[in-house]
Amino acid sequence: MANCKKGQQEIVGFVLIVVLVVVGLMVFLVVSLRDSPVNEDSVVVGNVLDAVMKHTTECAIVYEPDYDNFEDLFKSCYLGDRCKNLEVSACDYLNESLSSVVGDLMASDASVGFYELDFFVSDGEGLLRISDGNCSGSISAAQRKIISGSDSLVIRMKICLA
């Protein structure tokens, strides 16, 4: 009887140790698999955004050759303007040309695995989203604000560096 009790105690002790080890492993697994924190004000991503915003497009809202750069084109899209020379809406052209420019830009940088560019009204609806790739590293982000009349437009970019 005494031997049986002793055996039971040892089994309980062994189970306790196993449970402790499993709980410890689970905790560290969760810690290691948690989402990596996003660097919200990355100089690297800000540099990409600044260069893209200055790029001159082929869209002229008023007359040729008064072509919009991307910063102006974001405003034109928000105001619902049309590219007079191309006979398309500014938003359609913005979507098409921005995807092409940002896509080529990111493709030229082997360290970029994923990118996402959002265009939205501050505290309001999203107007455009471009994204491509898969993320397996840390995410860096940056945003630029454009003022259009009384509204504030936000262009936010996220890049996942492998």
Partner: protein, 175 residues
């Protein structure tokens, strides 16, 4: 006596196992902590490199408009990548300077001047292969890059406007 020794052995093995378990957990934890530190250090290094490249890009010899940072003048790039640029050999505080047009995307580097060219070699006294960000060319030269706008004044239908493209400034620094 034998039973007592067995008990001591069991306890010793258990203590060693627990000790190794906590050592492993500690190493795992340190690995996670230092992974973040490594990432932060890389981010800082990139930010510092871009800031340093800004100094080169904002030099009057390359800058398009003194009010705009990280904006290069394509006319100045044409001049500086030609024979005139050779007079600046002692001027540049770096090992090499090159500027790529990254849009539209290209598969082969075409040095300017030329049709559909995409690369301006501003300064490269060693004469090594076209600078690509990261490869360094020579072993002792480390390259850093940042995106810039390459602008030029274009006259069309009697009006002048600024035509800007996205480019990449690549600077080599001797390590």
């Amino acid at each position: 006596m034998v039973k007592g020794q067995m008990k001591i052995q069991q306890m010793a093995v258990m203590i060693v196992a627990v000790f190794f378990f906590f050592i492993l957990v500690g190493l795992f934890f340190l690995g996670i902590v230092f992974k973040d530190v490594e990432g932060s250090a890389e981010d800082l290094q990139r930010a510092q490199a871009i800031s340093s490249l800004g100094v080169i890009a904002d030099m009057p010899e390359l800058n398009f408009d003194s009010g705009e940072s990280m904006t290069l003048d394509e006319d100045k790039l044409r001049i500086m990548s030609g024979e005139f640029g050779e007079d600046y050999d002692l001027f540049w505080p770096v090992a090499s300077i090159g500027v790529y047009k990254v849009y539209p995307r290209f598969d082969e580097v075409e040095e300017c001047p030329g049709t559909n060219c995409n690369y301006y070699e501003i300064y490269n006294p060693s004469g090594h292969e076209n600078l690509q960000a990261g490869d360094g060319g020579y072993r002792d030269v480390k390259t850093y890059s940042a995106y810039v706008a390459i602008c030029e004044k274009v006259r069309e239908s009697g009006s002048t406007y600024d035509d800007c493209e996205v480019g990449k400034l690549v600077v080599g620094v001797r390590g």
